[in-house]
Symmetry: C3
Subunit: 381 residues, 3 copies
């Protein structure tokens, strides 16, 4: 019998119950990237984020605004209406909202009811990213996950986006164990020696990293050409893959010639910000920004690395979709077996699970609906 024993299955299931998966509730009290900054302008951009239907736009002064997309009158999507100056006009009966969400005009009557409006979501624009806070707790800019290098002129970046048919937990897990480079990315930027290279896990407070030194190795073309080490078997590839927040994962890699003495040898550094924002439990907005701090003025390097990387990331996207199709049909017999290289991702999934559970508990319990008198019509003179 090659299958795990019932005891092992039960233990695996008990362990799994403590880890986040596709069905775990979202963590709202976090900054998420809602859009690339350059996606938002003088029209209404509709996007579903953590299950919420949101619109983005910019005021005439250029300030980004995020509002709930549902008109409070008859639920028409505001995204089908108009941006008029700094205000949003519903396309059904003309209800008008200010950038802070306040209802400021009801065209069918002179008096506009007070104290009504749609939810306004705090946003922060920083470099190429527009962050949004969807949680019930106060939005604290200090809670932005670290990404200073993205606004550092030393780092030359390119970006891309995938609409991922998979959940964000699986994507984080994918990033925390790069063993998969030898298999899922065998034809792009993986090499056969990657899977068996030595690794180490760093478990921090809400941060989880996997470190992997692939030395000596031969770099794949995406890295070999810009670093001048094509076909050279003495290269070093030093990787740090780190979960920084539910909304941000950064992979930082150093390359150098391992045959040279440590002192003075040139190092080439690249970084990739992997930015998953859940759309639904089965789909994810997958924003990516990739950068380097060398050869900054050579456009061909930017293009070469961008093309090579996004070919590889498409393999992740395809793989995550295959995985999602498996995960969405799990039943009570489901279990997964972990191995040593999963340590960081297990701790990460436990963290997500505990955060999600704590948030769910903190939500005010839905009270029994009181038997209310017939509602008086708001704003009736």
């Amino acid at each position: 019998m090659t299958q795990p024993s019932p005891a092992m299955v039960r233990a695996a299931q008990a362990a799994g119950a403590r880890m986040a998966d596709r069905n775990t509730s979202f963590i709202f009290n976090e900054w998420y990237v809602g859009a690339f900054a350059d996606e938002v302008g003088r029209s209404l951009l509709r996007r579903t984020l953590l299950g919420r239907d949101v619109i983005f736009y910019r005021t005439q002064e250029g300030r980004a605004v995020a509002l709930d997309n549902r008109c409070i009158h008859r639920s028409f999507p505001l995204s089908e209406g108009l941006l008029d100056g700094d205000t949003v006009v519903c396309g059904y009966h003309g209800f008008r909202y200010a950038p802070d969400g306040e209802l400021i005009q009801v065209p069918s009557q002179e008096r506009c009811p007070k104290g009504l409006g749609v939810r306004n979501y705090p946003v922060i624009e920083r470099g190429p990213l527009l962050w949004i806070w969807l949680g019930d707790e106060a939005a604290d800019p200090a809670l932005l996950p670290p990404h200073d290098w993205l606004v550092d002129p030393d780092w030359v970046c390119s970006k891309g986006y995938f609409h991922l048919q998979g959940n964000y937990v699986s994507l984080h897990e994918n990033l925390l164990d790069l063993t998969h480079l030898s298999y899922l990315h065998a034809k792009s930027f993986g090499t056969p020696d990657y899977a068996a290279a030595k690794f180490d896990a760093e478990i921090g407070e809400g941060r989880f990293a996997l470190l992997r030194d692939v030395v000596p190795t031969t770099l794949p073309p995406v890295w070999a050409k810009p670093t001048g080490m094509e076909g050279y078997p003495q290269a070093a590839r030093i990787v740090r893959s780190e979960f920084l927040a539910p909304s941000l994962h950064t992979v930082a890699v150093r390359f150098y010639d391992n045959a040279l003495p440590e002192a003075g040898r040139p190092e080439f550094r690249i970084r990739t910000a992997h930015i998953p924002t859940p759309e639904t439990h089965g789909t994810t907005h997958y924003f990516i920004v990739h950068g380097r701090d060398f050869a900054q003025d050579q456009d061909w390097v930017t293009q070469h690395m961008h093309d090579g990387l996004f070919t590889a990331f498409q393999e992740d996207v395809d793989g995550m979709q295959h995985l999602e199709r498996m995960l969405e049909k799990t039943d009570e017999d489901f279990y997964e077996i972990s191995v040593a290289s999963d340590r960081a991702s297990i701790e990460m999934r436990r963290y997500l699970k505990s955060r999600a559970d704590a948030e769910a508990q903190a939500r005010v319990p839905a009270e029994e609906k009181p038997v209310a008198p017939p509602v008086s019509l708001a704003g009736v003179a």
Copy 2:
């Protein structure tokens, strides 16, 4: 904070609970339009009405027939069978049904079991419409909603149909507050002054009307050209939008030159029968007949108004689809805020809700299934 207070949300939810919405059960004891009369002929027309799978056809003498579409033997859709003379033959094992639904032949045996058949639904053909009664109560022709003008030769009509990806309650509500002409129909037959024009509601016994006088105004092209008031700012547009039954809504409009003395000034009248028949909770058969009682012999007027109107109605159809996508994902936090112009539609939705609830209560409670002896095979010799 621009969002409604918790107390206001609770009150809105309590009010909403008394109003029909997309999830409210259908009202069966009503006449509905099942098809345009000219859709039904000497073949089997399949249509889902209020969730019921129905076939229509005409006998050799031309009488319209409506039957349940499911063969009582093995559930094959009769619509895939044949119309043979006045009878319907199932396309699977040849069970034959008379126009009254009676099973009259089982080809695999000589004796046909008695007292079996599919449900026959009463129909009434009147003018362009074929009405059907799907309810459990007796079908009373006196309960047909009023539509005499549709069989009055003074009224010249054209007709059209939309398969609406939305529920019929939203469509009725759309029709009972024409504020939306200034927004949803800004590019077709709405004008900017429409939304703020004075209005009045009429609340009757199962009838609900909104009256709106847009005076003075400039008529949109669809009305301006046939009435000879193109670009003329002193036109009057007097609108009565009335819910007559769950299956019929009529919008009647008078146009005249407001600069002329009331006595003797010409009036132009148009009417539109909006005829929603629920297909499912999220889709509706939307039949429309539009007519006028002036310039009856001028075909270009018919064509001009038809084209203009159906362009506008397509905007409603698109809008209702956007709305349905919002409504189908509502959760327990959902609420809507009403304003003064919603009074007629609120009363209409309460009426639909009370009718639906009363019907649901009247249905015989599903008895516990008795432990029966093995069924004897019907018709075994």
Copy 3:
């Protein structure tokens, strides 16, 4: 009133509750055809059987293998990985499985955990068919349903496959009452006299047959041409349609000239193996093998019969799809009325139901998940 009385409806429902239908759980302890033998080779073939996600392949020696498709590590579908020699390598992190399902390599660590693996399903290859055992009971080759003629060189066969958008119970029932040849197959291999021809049922232990003698008759082109009886009204068509197992139904037909004396007249025999393997409750792998034991060396006969038959089987496939659309929306008011020719199929459906219920009862009840200590990581050194 043409509809059945409430008492008759209740009796029909009580009878229906004892019969298998599309919602009845699958019967796992049976041999099913998973694939035609020639579909399985040196790549990974993915197929869903009875709701299970399975891969097939052949070892380098040519032995067929069937494994569960889910990697026990992170649920990636093995079908997206590689066949490497006789082993399967997961396309995500490279977990390697032997043909018996045993996990034999975890590339990210030196030591491979023991006692783990994916489920291996017993298979038997026989003639054109590859049988698979998905049940929990021991796989006994003696339980293969009888199909010796398929490996008998006297029988010349052709084969085909349909992905049926319907359930397998309906397909079996279709095959057990060929009354439908006069209707569903009126344009292909049915004749008008088929429905009223005399028939008899044979009820055995898990075997159910319907016998039908259509004598005299005129054969349809598919049979008339190969037997030399085109347009001849004195032909005999003697049919035995038999349910042999949930996974196999055989239709055997003899044709002869009824005007000739019994002694010495030539007989032409054809057989069709109808092989349904449930994919889901609403879809079925429908394998078909058709053969004859005459004119074995005449290829045009093979082609002629194959073309004629598969045209007719497409009618079944279309009909079953129509039926499935009806059955999938049944509610508590649903019932079906049986007649004499349904006797074999009723007994067959009762048999399927009792088998399914017995299996469901035999399954170990899901225990309450124990509160286990954190799982230790498998294979951590």
